[in-house]
Amino acid sequence: MSTHPSDAYSTNEMMTVAAARELRDGVVCFVGIGLPSEAANLARATHAPNCVLVYESGTIGAKPEVLPLSIGDGDLAVHADAVVSVPHIFNYWLQAGRVDVGFLGAAQVDRYGNINTTVIGPYGAPKVRLPGAGGAPEIAASAREVLMVLRQRPRSFVERLDFVTSVGYRHGGDSRAELGYGGAGPTAVITDLGVLRPDPDTRELTLVALHPGATVEQAREATGWKLRVAGELSTTESPTDGELSALRDLHARTTAARKEAAG
């Protein structure tokens, strides 16, 4: 374990940094609240200052100074290039193909990147009622590509979804293409252990990179299906000093702003 620099940064920080790196500068990115928003704003603060962040509340080109509490934060509107209505953002931007990257979290994901945010258990008699679809089904359908960021756990990386709320590669292979959506589907799932990408033929999510210190065994244990591992497994580059300080600044600003707001 001598290679595990756990004293230097946390696994959550590694996850957020790895997710942020996936975002190319200048893209239009539809951002979910929570981990995706954190990663997208880190990207904007580091290598991707010209990203156009879109939140489903209708803020286009949002430049929040701190991490938003919710999609309703006034900070998202104040610095935005434009603030539009909800139908406008979903129809003219997302459905029209103006969004390059959809950045999503998920309660549960399966091996083909399909997402469940609706129910655990049967729909008519759920064990756990989750919040539901929100913007995700159409983001997953129409964003040119989808990035997902979530912690890798057996209860969230499952063999079978109880409900398909948003479509990834459906049953694998070319089965997504039959649906006629403009978006290509998920291109990366970034977790606290590594990075998964779809196999070019089967579209099954495959472990292609491990974060420093994480092992294949850990990733397999954290996955509810028999996880495929790429022949050439790479190791994620540790967070740079610049990335870490930008992320910690973002958190410090956010904490300070919330304390001030709480009076």
């Binding site: 489903e56 509107a77 539009v84 909800v86 609706t118 539901g132 159409e138 129409s142 479509v167």
Partner: protein, 285 residues
């Protein structure tokens, strides 16, 4: 033409048992004061429509106002679950709750169809998900011009839309700015609309991205300062996040929830008294 009235009178006159009611405000400008008044007046069998049924609908569902919920995302934004909503769906408490769930895109388009007075809207979505299996108001449709398969969703035509806005002028025109959400579509899709406002001004001054709802679209306007608390009102106040966090343990337990509602909502006369009683308890607003 809008009448200036009190919130109590507006709800008494315009919200009936059994109505389909849409309280909108997409996480910003949530009409909390109006929701509380509907609860105080003990409306029953409502079909509650809202894209994001957060704390307001958790309170209304837990107090037995709702027969049915039409929605697209039901959570405590940035905090976690809606426990009263979950309890109603999972255990039928305090009564069974029928649900009709869509995606945000579907709900937004349903309002647009209602506001446009056409029977349905068309979009590219839902296909490949399990939503069409559980939601009868999602149906395939073929484009008559290209043959493309799309999805149709029926118009929403609420009996009443209720929103909170920053300002109205003396003639009853209403201004919303900051995140404008779905309020315009909700008001224009409804048979009648109630608007609570922070204040009435002599003349509306333009703000960036402002939306104005002309007086003819609104049935009643009530001045309720702070009426969106604990949510945001852009230019007036930020979200009281401590309340959103405090709601989690309050709402988790049926008895604790009921006691809280009896004390702070049923036990107060109006929103001003509610804010005062809550402030006296917590030492904050």
């Amino acid at each position: 033409m809008s009448d200036r009235t009190t919130l109590r009178e507006a709800v008494a006159e315009l919200v009936n048992d059994g109505d389909a009611v849409a309280l909108e405000g997409f996480t910003h400008l949530i009409p909390f004061a109006a929701a509380h008044e509907v609860i105080r007046q003990q409306r029953r069998d409502l079909t509650l429509i809202r894209m994001t049924p957060d704390l307001v609908y958790d309170q209304m569902i837990g107090m037995g106002c709702a027969r049915k919920l039409v929605f697209s995302w039901g959570g405590n934004p940035g905090v976690g679950s809606l426990h009263r909503f979950r309890d109603a769906v999972q255990s039928g408490w305090p009564g069974s709750l029928e649900i009709e769930e869509h995606s945000h895109a579907g709900m937004a388009n349903r309002y647009v169809a209602g506001a446009s007075n056409i029977p349905f809207a068309v979009l590219r979505g839902y296909v490949g998900t399990d939503l069409p299996e559980v939601t009868p108001t999602i149906a395939p449709i073929r484009c008559p011009f290209t043959g493309e398969e799309l999805v149709a969703v029926p118009a929403l035509r609420p009996d009443v839309a209720i929103i909170h806005a920053q300002q109205a002028d003396r003639r009853g025109n209403v201004a919303i700015w900051g995140i404008v959400g779905i309020q315009q579509e909700a008001v224009l899709s409804a048979r009648r609309a109630i608007v609570t406002v922070e204040e009435v001004v002599d003349e509306l001054v333009p703000h960036p991205f402002q939306v104005v709802l002309p007086a003819v679209t609104v049935a009643a306007i009530a001045v309720v300062p702070g009426g969106a608390r604990p949510s945001y009102a852009h230019g007036y106040y930020e979200r009281d996040n401590a309340f959103y966090e405090a709601w989690d343990p309050i709402s988790r337990d049926r008895d604790r929830f009921t006691e809280w509602m009896q004390r702070y909502i049923m036990g107060t006369h109006d929103f001003a008294e509610y804010v005062e009683s809550l402030g006296a308890r917590s030492g904050s607003r």
